[in-house]
């Protein structure tokens, strides 16, 4: 066992070895116990008694028959006490004992499995200083400003009982007015009051204490907060790994969106989050501490595993699994110490989502409503009529003037005689056209929208039952045409205490999403600004002309859908329903040992209905613009259903041994998923507007119509997966100063078939609360200082299944359409196994002057055995295979800083700052190089960043002739300047040089919150530095000849400065009007927009004002009359502005995602940008 060896290496001191061995034995014990739940039932037994006027001695003997306790008493005492009557059903031992000894001068203590009955201490009333019999303790909890703190935990504990004597703490939660009541008691104890965001308060109390006023101080450190780390919940001070927790309230104070991932941007360290444009369908991409896998077609998810309410989900995106309004907190697990327990799925980190639960106390109803506008925020646009026609005129002049290949007059000059004649004959716009100027882009394709959200939740509870229920309706537009998310969600979380020992929990959640996307014309560059949106009679046109250039005569015309007309008919509707239900049963065998079983079922139904209506032009006609054919309406339906079942069973242990407090768990999990797809296409709609298969007369797609082929079923094969895991975790807290943790998980999965089905993952970590050491006590500024260190492994499954089998597929036809042969679809690789990431993490948590909190983490993640599709030697006979061949490392530093700059009763100013650095290096690749998946033009080598960008260096424009200057690398590595990409490229790959990386050097966020009485203002900036983006808009749409094919061109701004004439030194783009002898654009043939040119790779660093929020909390006095507990109104604006490189021509600097085989790093290009959302809202609590 690796486990043992490492534990030994780590703890060399003799006593620690013993301690470690003990821990290991406990682990073994837990592993066993997981499988022997039956034997544990003995402890779980409840006591049922019915005795009338029976002597105590007899009653105790009855108890002994039902529960494994020994009794210790003097018979005299029992006789003095007399007889009792008792009638209990399934009661716990403590309850029974209390009933037995009720009104008797006796008391008991439980020591291990022995119950000691002894004489009660003299009653307070008999004491001379006795005043009143003990009544219930009441109190009120307020914050430093005197405002009541509701929902605070109040616990009465008994720290001074004799060794081995245990009495379970009594607890309650403050109500909306901050008030609490505790049952009467007599033994002096300690009262603990804690609440999120405040320092825990403790005060000794006795039976006489009453009407306490407890003032909680706002937290200086978050050390007392409880952090849910997935399978367990720990005090922040006990955490030994790298974990960040963000509360739901904190998230909801940021951007307004249905996408929780977007809310984390700028707040979570280590998470590089990219949103690709303004569509509601873009769920965003997240990389945790750098990319840890290779680009591969079967690998599309680079993001963390998502765990919700303790259940491993199959979700890839947070948007698809949880409604932001329901979130209590999100915990991000980053290093091996915190993720190893998730084993084979955790190499890319884990995001743990915890939803809100009910609190005992008064019923609380929360209503949150907001409304606002979503605005298109593009930084670039296409040309308007004067700009485009001017460009065309200038380009036609250049075309006409260009000499022929032989140096003589061009064929245009010989054909037309004069430029005016040529221009008038062939131009693609008329004089009348100049009067029309349609901004198709912003009017039709990138539109503004609205957003509204209503969230109603109810929370209630008593000491037995706690309930939380919420309904939500969100309607959010993106900034594309017909881009909408309509979300309805319901959540019910119930926690029920069945007895003192048994509790039941139910988490149920339904998300009903409906996404609308356009199925109309979406080629936004095909619309010429002089084309009106209406017919001559003023009616909205159903199709609009597009004019193309023909050098031989008058302009040609082809037609496209008018998106303004057709978009209401032609849409793609995606109905997504996600049902998630977990039942949990927890049984406390003893106060220190419990078992828990969680059983989860998820069902995801996804229905895509893509419809084109025969009442629209493109609904009637499909095919290329030059050869449309009749289809009369089209429909394609894709149904995907996923069922997922997970059972997770655990034993938890929590016990003190002297100064050691050991918590441990052991569990096993079995999960199984089934996904199946149904797809069908039809055309020729008999009932326009009906978007179901029955309304159509023919099966098949437009391709079937075009080629006259028969439609064939196109549904994907169902996918079944299953996994089985055993896991264990042991934590030791010694004197609350030294912390150690071990975790171990063994996973089996269908991913790799039989041979390499198992993977074992582990971690070792430790923490040292330095600030509790004596020598630190006189260093006053440091109120908290903790060091953390961890090492361990986590894994990642392959994207595809059964990779170690040769598989045949019936796929190719031969001799007739109906004779199908079997061909090898995949060649077995019997060596393949899990990718493994080895992470070392070192961290410091520090609080200075009780004002400044700082957390710094350094990590080194080595990912090894990365899966890569490699080309096999030809003699094997199969082109490629997935193999474990790559290694890479991510090293980085994360820093998060919170300062309470000003704290006073009326005014406060808090600053939160976080920054994450990451450096990625390939350390091993198959065949020593990795071909770029998108351009295929260059290779990455060992030592490069996995997202290294390589290009032929562009040195700007030759000011004398307007030609581009590229660097050609000669064999002796000397550089020769040439004026075209083909010249620079003639030596193959040599000219490709590193021009940067698609992932940033660092990124982070910066939040300032000001509060003056009830008014608070917060501003969140997020920033990214050092990444490059491919100028996709320029690459695709800056072709000066594009107008010939009926395309519009980009409107140049300061970022795109074409060479104007000899001596122009400010230009960054070559001569736009250079036409070569063949009539081609030299701008293009010399490679200005060639994917190999570094001209296209531009710095995409930015800083964005992500969110501004102004809120006002109405004064309490005013509200009490209206029976409202609290009311807050707010204004919020997202994506207010962005600062970026002056050379970047793009709708938005953000949006370059990584991975996949179409790794283009192109970002949003000239399409939609991060939308600006301006929202107004109100939050009411009753």
């Amino acid at each position: 066992m690796n486990f043992k060896a490492i534990a030994r290496r780590r703890f060399t001191h003799g006593r620690h070895v013993m301690q470690t061995l003990l821990i290991m034995k406990l682990t073994a014990f837990f592993l066993l116990a997981a499988c022997l739940q039956l034997s544990a039932k003995g402890y779980a037994q409840q006591i049922t008694l019915s005795e009338k006027n029976a002597p105590l001695q007899k009653v105790f003997k009855q108890i002994q028959k039902q529960a494994p306790y020994d009794f210790l008493y003097s018979s005299e005492l029992l006789q003095q006490a007399g007889k009792i009557s008792i009638d209990v059903h399934n009661a716990g031992i403590e309850e029974v004992l209390q009933l037995c000894l009720k009104d008797k001068p006796l008391t008991y203590v439980i020591i291990g499995e022995t119950i000691v009955i002894k004489q009660q201490a003299p009653e307070p009333s008999k004491r001379p200083d006795a005043e009143t019999p003990a009544g219930p303790i009441t109190g009120v909890v307020v914050d430093e400003t005197g405002k009541p703190v509701s929902g605070a935990s109040v616990f009465l504990k008994w720290p001074n009982l004799p060794t081995g004597v245990y009495r379970s703490p009594e607890g309650t939660i403050t109500n909306a007015n901050g008030e609490f009541t505790l049952q009467p008691f007599s033994t002096p104890g300690m009262l603990y009051v804690s609440s999120v965001g405040y320092t825990t308060f403790q005060i000794p109390v006795d039976g006489k204490s009453d009407r306490l006023r407890i003032v909680l101080k706002t937290f200086e450190t978050n050390l007392t907060e409880m952090v849910i780390t997935g399978y367990s919940t720990k005090k922040a001070s006990e955490i030994t790994g790298s974990v960040q927790s963000v509360s739901g309230d904190e998230l909801r104070k940021g951007v307004s969106t249905a996408n929780t991932l977007a809310m984390l941007k700028g707040k979570a360290t280590g998470l590089y989050i990219v949103e690709t444009g303004g569509s509601v369908t873009n769920r965003g991409q997240v990389l945790m501490r750098g990319q840890a896998s290779m680009n591969d077609a079967s690998n599309t998810n680079y993001g963390p595993l998502i765990v919700m309410d303790g259940i491993i989900t199959t979700a890839v995106n947070l948007q698809d699994i949880v409604n932001p309004g329901d979130i209590e907190s999100i915990t991000i697990l980053k290093d091996a110490a915190s993720t190893a327990i998730y084993g084979s799925r955790a190499a890319q980190g884990v995001i743990v989502v915890t939803t809100k639960h009910g609190a005992s106390g008064k019923l609380s109803v929360n209503l949150d409503m907001n409304y606002g506008q979503v605005q298109n925020n593009r930084l670039v646009n296409f040309m308007n009529t004067p700009e485009l026609t001017t460009h065309i005129y200038k380009y036609m002049q250049a075309l006409y003037a260009a000499p022929s290949t032989t140096g003589g007059p061009s064929s245009l000059q010989t054909s037309y005689g004069s430029f005016q004649n040529y221009f008038n004959t062939t131009r693609i716009y008329t004089d009348a056209d100049l009067n029309t100027n349609t901004d198709w882009n912003n009017r039709a394709f990138f539109t503004n929208g609205n957003q509204t959200s209503t969230n109603l939740s109810l929370s209630s509870g008593n000491d037995k039952t706690r309930f939380f229920g919420a309904v939500n309706w969100t309607n959010q537009d993106g900034t594309l045409i017909d881009d909408n998310l309509d979300r309805k969600s319901v959540r019910v979380n119930i926690d029920q205490k069945i007895s003192n020992k048994l509790s039941f929990g139910l988490n149920a959640n339904a998300l009903i999403d409906k996404y609308t996307q356009t199925n109309s014309e979406n080629q936004y560059y095909l619309f010429e600004p002089w084309v009106p949106t209406t017919y001559a009679n003023g009616q909205l046109a159903d199709s609009v002309p597009n004019y193309v250039y023909k050098p031989t005569g008058a302009r040609g015309v082809q037609y496209y859908d008018d998106p303004l007309y057709s978009h209401t008919y032609n849409t793609i509707l995606t109905q997504r329903q996600s049902y998630f239900a977990t039942g949990k049963l927890k049984y406390d065998i003893t106060p220190w040992l419990s078992i828990q079983s969680s059983n989860n079922f998820q069902y995801i139904y996804n229905n895509v209905n893509a419809y084109k209506d025969p009442r629209t032009y493109r609904g009637r006609w499909d095919g290329a613009a030059s050869s449309r054919f009749w289809v009369n309406g089209e429909l394609s339906i894709t149904d995907t259903k996923t069922r997922y079942f997970l059972t997770s069973n655990m034993i938890n242990f929590n016990r003190s041994f002297g100064q050691h407090n050991i918590t441990a768990l052991v569990g096993e999990e079995f999960g199984k998923s089934h996904t199946e797809t149904f797809a069908a296409s039809a055309y020729n709609n008999a009932y326009p507007g009906e978007r179901n298969l029955g309304a159509f007369l023919s099966y098949g797609t437009a391709t079937n119509v075009q080629n006259g082929t028969t439609a064939t079923p196109s549904s994907l094969a169902p996918v079944d997966k299953a996994s089985f895991s055993v896991f264990s975790e042991v934590n030791d807290s010694y004197r609350e100063k030294y912390f150690g943790a071990l975790s171990l998980r063994r996973d089996a999965s269908t991913n790799f078939g039989v041979n390499n089905r198992y993977g074992t993952f582990y971690s070792v970590s430790g923490g040292w609360m330095l600030s509790k050491e004596n020598f630190m006590q006189h260093i006053r500024p440091v109120s908290n200082l903790k060091l953390r260190a961890s090492y361990g492994t986590s894994g990642r499954e392959a994207g595809a299944d059964y990779l170690n089998f040769t598989v045949y597929q019936d796929q190719l036809q031969y001799n007739s359409m109906t004779t199908t042969g079997s061909t090898i679809q995949r060649l077995a690789n019997d060596q393949i196994t899990w990718e493994t990431t080895y992470t070392t993490n070192l961290g410091v948590d520090m609080t200075l002057w009780k004002r400044i909190s700082l957390t710094v983490d350094y990590y080194n993640r080595r990912s090894s055995g990365l899966l890569q599709t490699v080309q096999l030697p030809s003699y094997i006979g199969f082109p490629s295979q997935v193999r474990n061949v790559g290694d890479l490392t991510n090293k980085g530093l994360e820093l998060s800083l919170t300062t309470n700059n000003i704290v006073s009763r009326d005014f406060s100013w808090t600053t939160e700052f976080n920054i994450s650095f990451n450096r990625n290096r390939l350390t091993k690749i198959y065949g020593d190089s990795l071909k770029d998946g998108y351009s295929g033009a260059y290779y990455r080598h060992v030592g490069d960043d996995i997202n290294a960008l390589k290009a032929i260096k562009y040195d700007g424009v030759n000011p004398d002739n307007g030609r581009p200057i590229f660097e050609r690398v000669m064999s002796d590595k000397s550089i020769v300047l040439v004026d075209s990409i083909p010249l620079a490229k003639q030596d193959g790959y040599r000219a490709y040089r590193n021009v940067g990386s698609a992932t940033p050097k660092f990124f982070g966020g910066f939040t300032n919150t000001f509060r003056y009485k009830g008014i608070s203002l917060s501003m969140l900036f997020n920033f990214v530095y050092g990444n490059k983006i491919m100028n996709n808009g320029v690459r695709n749409f800056a072709d000066p000849t594009a107008w010939q094919n009926g395309f519009n061109l980009l409107q140049p701004n300061g970022a795109m400065r074409f060479w104007k004439g000899p001596g122009d030194k400010s230009a960054n783009y070559p001569n736009y009007y250079d036409v070569d002898a063949r009539g081609n654009s030299a701008f293009l043939t010399r490679g200005a927009t060639n994917i190999s040119s570094s001209l296209l790779y531009v710095d995409a660093s930015y800083i964005r004002l992500r969110n501004v929020r102004l809120s006002y909390e109405l004064p309490a006095g005013f509200l009490q009359k209206a029976r409202i507990a609290s009311a807050t109104v707010y204004l919020s604006a997202d994506n207010v502005f962005v600062l970026k490189s002056k050379d970047l021509y793009a709708a938005d600097p953000e949006g370059a995602t990584v991975g996949g085989t179409s790794n283009s790093f192109g970002g949003t290009g000239v399409a939609s940008a991060m939308p600006r959302r301006i929202m107004a809202g109100i939050n009411l609590r009753f």
Binding site: M24, K25, L26, A28, F29, L31, L32, A33, C35, L36, K550, G556, S626, S627, Q706, N707, A717, V719, D720, A722, F724, V726, R746, A748, S749, T750, V754, R757, Y758, D801, Y802, F805, T806, V807, Y808, Q809, D810, Q811, L812, Q813, Y814, N815, S816, M817, T819, T820, G821, S822, T823, I824, Q825, L827, P873, S874, Y875, I876, G877, F878, P879, P982
Partner: protein, 501 residues
């Protein structure tokens, strides 16, 4: 505490057992699952029908699925474009595909996968071989099931086709020291280890082709339509293989010529094939191969469309507003067309097209336009073995043995079928030349062009310019007559020696 320690010790040893037990029970759960809509290899070969389907898959792979590893399209480019039947016009594109398209034509024989098709063809050949060898590896030497034996015979035939096509392109002509000239790596079973094979000699490669064909001939249990291999397809190919071994006209190997003649005899006399005549012949390429009585074996494309016609002719397109546009970039060469007599029925295989700015080479080959569906795809079969070729094989074999009368008779069967008057009084060199000319006319655009010169020790002469390429003569001893092996193959396998050029 003492007790606790004992318990823990006991539990610890039990825990190991429990983990093992859990593993076994979960293995069962996991084993119960399998991927959907695919078969594991063992399942595939669990029934005779699985053999048949895998064999059909092998044919389908050789025929033309439109993928990046389309065997037949690469084979066609490398085999046909190296002759003098074709002239390239107007290669304006600067894409890497355009460079690849004319690489073999220009005898550049690039070893880079980016500039030629040598790599793609090599990869596709060995991928086809894996399919074939996997079927054969599941056939026991004592197998008696007629369906499995039929599959064995067909796969042996396919292996011969693949190896023969490879050795024609990578091994110097047989008449030049076949015992020492390198041929190709011969792979007879699926390779599971990374053991790089060596190149066999040309002779060893031919011997293997003949061994497989001979073995195949004895295992056929049924005769299917001509899309599938048959005993007579085997004989027709043997007739061709021996002809390739029969030396030059001046230094013939009469023994191999005789074998070629004998296998041709067998096909002509007993195969049940007949030459198409008149308008049926003129429409030879406008139909599927299946009902064609002349085709001995064709790579059929009725099931999957083929990419092959891409460079030959693309009718019915639109070009900057001109509809009904059609063209090919590879045109019948002026030299070739000058050999076709005006009355030749074979003019019907060439059609006038419509292409702006091109007024010189207006004919395109339309042998591959059956069920043309646009964007270069058609369902046209590749008539790999035809009875006409077998007659011409026999004519050549006979003339190499000195049987002028028999040779002329066979030549005239094909010559008169084309609507021309019978040739008279030819013998010796003149007759041999006439047979080769007839072969060129009859089998044009069917992948024979350059091989018929080089195997007979003759130069390939192009007396015409092509776009960007001048007139060209390639001598049969020039290293250029065979392709360079791709750089990728040399990198992955140090045992492979490059063909010097």
């Amino acid at each position: 505490m003492q007790n606790a320690v004992l318990y823990i010790r006991f539990f610890k040893s039990l825990a190991v057992l429990v983990i093992l037990a859990a593993a076994v029970s979960c293995n069962k759960q996991l084993d119960a699952l399998s991927p959907n809509n695919v078969n594991f290899e063992d399942q595939q070969f669990g029934t005779p029908n699985g053999y048949t389907k895998a064999t059909i898959g092998n044919y389908a792979y050789l025929a033309g699925p439109v993928t990046t590893t389309s065997y037949e399209a690469y084979w066609f480019n490398l085999s046909e474009f190296r002759g003098n039947n074709i002239r390239f016009i107007d290669v304006t594109s600067t894409s890497s595909q355009a460079a690849q398209d004319v690489d073999a034509f220009n005898f550049t024989n690039s070893s880079s996968k980016d500039f030629g098709y040598s790599n793609a063809f090599w990869q596709a050949s060995y991928q086809a071989l894996l399919g074939v060898n996997t079927v054969l590896s599941h056939v026991d030497s004592t197998e008696t099931d007629p369906i499995i034996l039929q599959a064995k015979a067909e796969n042996l035939f396919l292996r011969s086709v693949i190896n023969f096509n490879l050795v024609r392109l990578y091994g110097m002509p047989y008449y030049q020291s076949p015992e020492t000239n390198p041929g190709i790596p011969i792979i007879l079973e699926p390779i599971t280890t990374l053991t790089p094979p060596l190149r066999a000699t040309v002779k060893q490669t031919y011997d293997q082709v003949i061994r497989d064909l001979t073995d195949a001939a004895g295992n056929f249990t049924q005769k299917k339509v001509n899309s599938y291999a048959s005993r007579y397809a085997v004989f027709a190919l043997l007739s061709r293989v021996y002809l390739y071994m029969s030396g030059t006209f001046s230094a013939p190997n009469a023994g191999f010529a005789k074998l070629s003649q004998q296998y041709a005899d067998s096909v002509i006399l007993n195969g049940g094939y007949s030459l198409l005549q008149g308008s049926a012949y003129a429409n030879y390429y406008n139909n599927s191969n299946q009902a064609n009585t002349e085709t001995v074996w064709a790579m059929n494309n009725d099931g999957v469309n083929s990419f092959l016609p891409r460079l030959l002719m693309a009718p019915g397109g639109t070009y900057i507003g001109i509809t009904g546009y059609s063209t090919g970039q590879g045109k019948p060469s002026p030299d070739f067309l000058s050999l076709l007599a005006p009355a030749d029925l074979r003019w019907s295989f060439y059609r006038k097209d419509k292409y702006p700015n091109n007024n010189t080479d207006t004919l395109s080959c339309m042998k591959y336009l059956y069920k043309y569906i646009g964007v270069y795809y058609s369902y046209a079969p590749v008539h790999y073995l035809r009875l006409a070729e077998v007659y011409l094989n026999r004519a050549e074999a006979k003339v190499k043995q000195g049987d002028n009368t028999g040779a002329l008779a066979d030549l005239n069967v094909i010559h008169t079928r084309a609507g021309l008057a019978a040739l008279m009084g030819l013998s010796g060199q003149a007759l041999f030349d006439a047979i080769l000319t007839e072969r060129r006319l009859e089998l044009a655009f069917e992948g024979h062009s350059s091989f018929d010169y080089f195997r007979n020790g003759l130069p390939m002469v192009r007396n015409y310019n092509s776009f960007n390429s001048p007139a060209l003569t390639v001598n049969p001893t020039d290293g250029k007559v065979i392709m360079r092996i791709s750089d990728d193959v040399l990198t992955e396998n140090p045992n492979i020696k490059q063909n010097p050029q």
